[in-house]
Symmetry: C2
């Protein structure tokens, strides 16, 4: 699959990274001589952050090319994404070119924050709005607005690269999310202008409180919970009257003077000026990856965690009976390192635990089997730590069944660095099959026992 990225700023670069790291070929068109440098920087951030979201490897990266010729960049593209500056006449011009050169079956998406599809297409284009959020390579949300069939096709593609397409049913200026951002932005400008709070205090008021709620439940579900057993009507009865109180200045718009711009820029410098933008981006990405990984582990009901989970499930491949079994292939995520700067010893144990889970699934002791009340529990591990590894390094585990008799299962795992196949750690792991009701050991189901014995016999013969 091929994506053409028209306009290579922070947003275009984010789109390029999202497609590329999910295995798409990407062609970038941008007349700016700095475009390649700018996109490289976004890509460096994305390569550092995105693979760490998942507990399995992403597909091999696609091929990245830069073009000064628009027709060449869009040739054979399945997706064309326009991310040029937010001026309608410029968007019209670019879209007219795309109508001429893009394949008829290609989806043409626009990253516009504010324009409606009817405005984008008033000169005869067939674009939909596909509005992403920065950083595009990490945040799942994409607002889709426009032709229903095209949006449905677009949604399938976007889900396939780990995003969350939200179809906006009626077109409206600024779609949905940016209406909230604009409302909050206006209120924030008033608070700063009136000297109630500075930029840092406003950020703390958000991230120490409701920002944490919104990251996982949004607005209405949070309030539903706050309403308690009396329900959403009760909550609304309680807070409805505030609508007539002077709790916001939003009936009015602050004048956007040079003084106000300077005031905010100065406060922002005082707050964050000790860090470069690159450092802030990495801080943001590390925080986002950590939050998304934490939510992923929580299962359904975890908002964006569910999207990461579903995409990860798509990334798994079924194993075949090889000697050894390749049970783990992944990057070391940022949240696995400790104060020594390397992967914490507890996480070696987790990698080997994951490897054992893969062996179990392979012999039929999968989620359904565990749901039926049977599982394998680890009784003993002996781990030798031979070398360090660091966040972002690709590693893999090869596993063999060294004993498979009745309720006993013994595995030998070797964890290696992908770059040079050097041995990082070994684990001798002894498991017992258990009845989850009695929590006592018992023989596996006959088919699982047979699969274990087959593997044990195969692996006893040595490398194939």
């Amino acid at each position: 699959m091929k994506a053409a990225i028209i306009g290579g700023g922070v947003i275009g670069g984010g789109w390029a990274a999202r497609f590329l790291l999910n295995g798409w070929d990407v062609a970038v068109f941008d007349p700016d001589p700095e475009a390649e440098r700018k996109i490289s920087e976004v890509l460096m951030n994305a390569r550092r952050a995105l693979p760490g979201l998942y507990d399995t490897a992403l597909p091999p990266e696609g091929r990245l090319t830069y073009h000064s010729d628009l027709a060449q960049s869009v040739a054979g593209a399945d997706w064309v994404q326009e991310s040029v500056p937010e001026r309608l006449e410029l968007k019209h011009k670019v879209l007219a070119d795309l109508m001429q050169y893009a394949p008829d079956e290609a989806i043409i998406g626009s990253s516009t924050s504010g324009f409606k599809p009817s405005e984008l297409n008033e000169k005869g284009a067939r674009a939909i709005v596909a509005h992403p959020f920065n950083p595009v390579y990490l945040l799942p949300l994409i607002e889709l607005v426009g032709d229903a069939d095209t949006c449905a096709r677009a949604a399938d593609i976007l889900s396939g690269i780990g995003m969350f397409p939200l179809k906006v049913r009626k077109e409206i200026d600024a779609h949905i999310a940016d209406r909230f951002l604009e409302a909050v932005w206006r209120e924030a400008l008033w608070l700063v202008k009136d000297g109630i709070a500075n930029t840092e205090e406003i950020d703390e008021a958000i991230r120490m409180g409701f920002g944490l709620r919104w990251a996982q439940m949004g607005l209405f579900e949070t309030y539903r919970v706050a309403g308690g057993e009396a329900g959403m009507k009760h909550f609304m009865a309680q807070f409805g009257p505030c609508l007539s109180w002077p709790w916001t200045k939003l009936m009015d718009v602050p004048e956007f003077t040079d003084e106000l711009v300077d005031l905010i820029a100065d406060q922002s410098d005082a707050q964050s000026g000790h860090m470069s933008i690159r450092e802030l981006e990495r801080l943001r990405d590390d925080n986002l990856v950590s939050i998304l990984r934490a939510l992923k582990a929580r299962g359904p009901g975890s908002g964006a965690g569910r999207v990461v989970r579903d995409h990860e499930a798509d990334l798994w491949h079924a194993m075949t009976d090889t000697t050894p079994l390749r049970t783990v292939a992944r990057d070391v995520p940022i949240d696995w390192t400790d104060y020594n700067g390397h992967m914490n010893e507890g996480r070696y144990g987790q990698v080997f635990s994951d490897a054992a889970d893969r062996v179990m699934a392979h012999v039929g002791a999968d989620a359904d089997y565990i749901g039926s009340g049977l599982s394998f529990f680890t009784a003993e591990t002996n781990i030798k730590y031979l070398d360090e590894c660091h966040a972002g390094e690709a590693v893999y585990v090869d596993s063999t069944v060294t004993l498979g008799e009745g309720k006993k299962l013994r595995l030998w795992h070797e964890m290696r660095r992908k770059a040079d196949d050097s041995l990082l750690a070994t684990c001798d792991q002894f498991l017992l099959h258990v009845d989850l009701t009695t929590r006592k050991s018992c023989p596996p189901r006959a088919d699982v026992e047979a699969r274990v014995e087959t593997l044990a016999t195969l692996h006893a013969r040595g490398t194939t």
Copy 2:
């Protein structure tokens, strides 16, 4: 220390839990015969969630009492928190009673979302606004408004129970955070009323995108990053003009009709009605604990994670030379369990890794020592898994030094359940002292080596 909680709803109950679980005695005054039941339910949630934020045990819970007599409830209180319904004349009546019965030196805080201190105190009271966010036992933010000296004393106390006090410098209706909540609420009502989006779509638009950004950076730092190297002024120049565009309907206020209330209540039922409020609360708390733990692990620059980190540092106690050393005392957090419903085997390894860290710190191989370029690395572990443990269970680890000779350090750890002292797992751990520059083994600094040898000799003698 004693806190008196005046009004025992969701907010009062949250305050009670926050104080109680941080070791304060708590006296609740609420004439509602249901108050004890309601507070018990909040406390049950808090006991389930709050201890799991920290990688060390909270202090023993204080004593909880219920009172039908206000004077009795506030006697000897260091903090009195008013959380009665949001009606000014009711607040005036309660505050007048508190002026009569509360100790002169007690801080009197009001949980009001909207009233200013000058309004609360217009009949002669001396309250400050101490505005919390639901769930009070997990979210760090407290907005403090009012008398500067009282707010400074209040801030010290609140930091001591793990909160983040934000001093609001000028009083204003709805303080800071609720102004944003009100702005977003108004915009959301319009979007639902106009049929642009339903409650679920709005929640997804928030939690799949900017909610994740705000949870860790807030508004301005996020935009500073988005502005890139060109800086905050550039960002503002780009988005300033939107202020004159129709990107929000906030110049106008939707009429709060029965139809609108029904529309929203119905949509909310369709979205979340398959879960009870209790289930939603636990989902929210599990998500919040997971996010806060993830941010805590990221260090400075992680917003609310920093607050949890700082509070945790205060909770640690220095060890003395006992046999064995009590190296770990903690609850099993929600993010440590796996599909089998018990603590994942990798986390046993992490507990023993933490135990080794405590031994290291105790012998002088602490953060400064590691900063100087020396550390101990684990070379081998042998773990026996003897029993399961589950989220919320209190566990501890006793550790002895079984070998301490030059660069070699060997530890024996026993992890037990606090409730019955039953043995959960053992770990035989072998560590080597390393030079962090060469990554090769080397002898420890003389004082550290001497401390290790002292412990090895002491522990060889057996239990004292």
